[in-house]
Symmetry: C2
DNA sequence: CCTGATAGACAGGTAACTTGAGTATAGCGT
DNA sequence: ACGCTATACTCAAGTTACCTGTCTATCAGG
């Protein structure tokens, strides 16, 4: 099952990159999408983002450096804590986020169409979400993962 | 959806590693499992394996080197073609394959149990398989992916 | 104000790939 | 039988997306 899920992910990833390339974005990867999804409107700290995406602060710092260099985000000093900076989307970043959503929605719709127009697809999605939530609450009883838009 | 699938994969991967570690195998990764699954009983060429797993010959050669160094496979010259070698499982490899199957089956059963004892899980699996097959046959009309045991 | 926690920076390492280029062998058309 | 192209594999180097370990600056509690 896990390998199946991985292959589906890879297939979708490939489609996504292709679509992004067609739109002229060659510097966005899946991880940027995950990052975009984790950002708050009013600025988010690197350490918070790292925790949300389940990676180390260092890996997140690298991802943020990369994303900043590409012009999608800026990091401004946190007025409430001089150690910290908060991540904000630039206009370019905002546009990219919207494009990513649009493309992923399109891909998702295509997949749903391939799978008999919807029903099976949405139950597939529900199943994955439920499985994840259950797995997450196996050990620790944290807040359940919000149903993923993508 | 893709991100969901990826998270499910990662979760399962983590469970699998943990179980393998408990059994004393610290040198097996998910890719070895995929490799094990792709092997024929009577020996398989690297190029064939690379194609089956959708990677380059070079990446497969590296994976095979690694797996051979760990003692799970041997490569013997192909008597029918002096350019080629064929990959065979060692006894240790055979044992590892069987353990992997057993552990993945156990994990799968646990997941199925978490998801209301079966029905939802198997429909999830069917959905993923169907989606993959449909995606694969979008462009080229090749043989459909066999339903994945894991 | 000292102490320990936290935010982040800097350096180096690893896994699992990739592309590019090269060698040995196979097998086909002429 | 000979040359040409395709195939099986190898070697070298680069990339992505992480990791651990160590460091400094800052914050917050007793």
């Amino acid at each position: 099952m896990a390998l199946l899920a991985n292959r589906v992910f890879k297939a979708c990833e490939a489609d996504f990159f292709e679509a992004l390339g067609d739109e002229g974005y060659t510097d966005i990867r899946m991880r940027h999408t995950a990052l975009f999804e984790a950002l708050d409107e009013d600025g988010t700290r690197g350490s918070v983002l790292a925790e949300r995406l389940g990676m180390t602060q260092q890996a997140m710092a690298q991802l943020l450096d990369d994303t900043q260099a590409a012009g999608y985000i800026t990091r401004i000093p946190d007025p409430t804590d001089r150690r910290a900076r908060v991540v904000m989307l630039t206009d370019r970043g905002q546009a990219a986020v919207e494009l990513c959503y649009a493309l992923l929605t399109r891909i998702e719709r295509e997949y749903a169409r391939l799978l008999d127009d919807g029903d099976e697809y949405s139950s597939l999605k529900r199943g994955l979400t439920r499985l994840l939530n259950t797995l997450a609450s196996r050990t620790e009883t944290t807040a359940p993962a919000k149903p993923d838009t993508y």
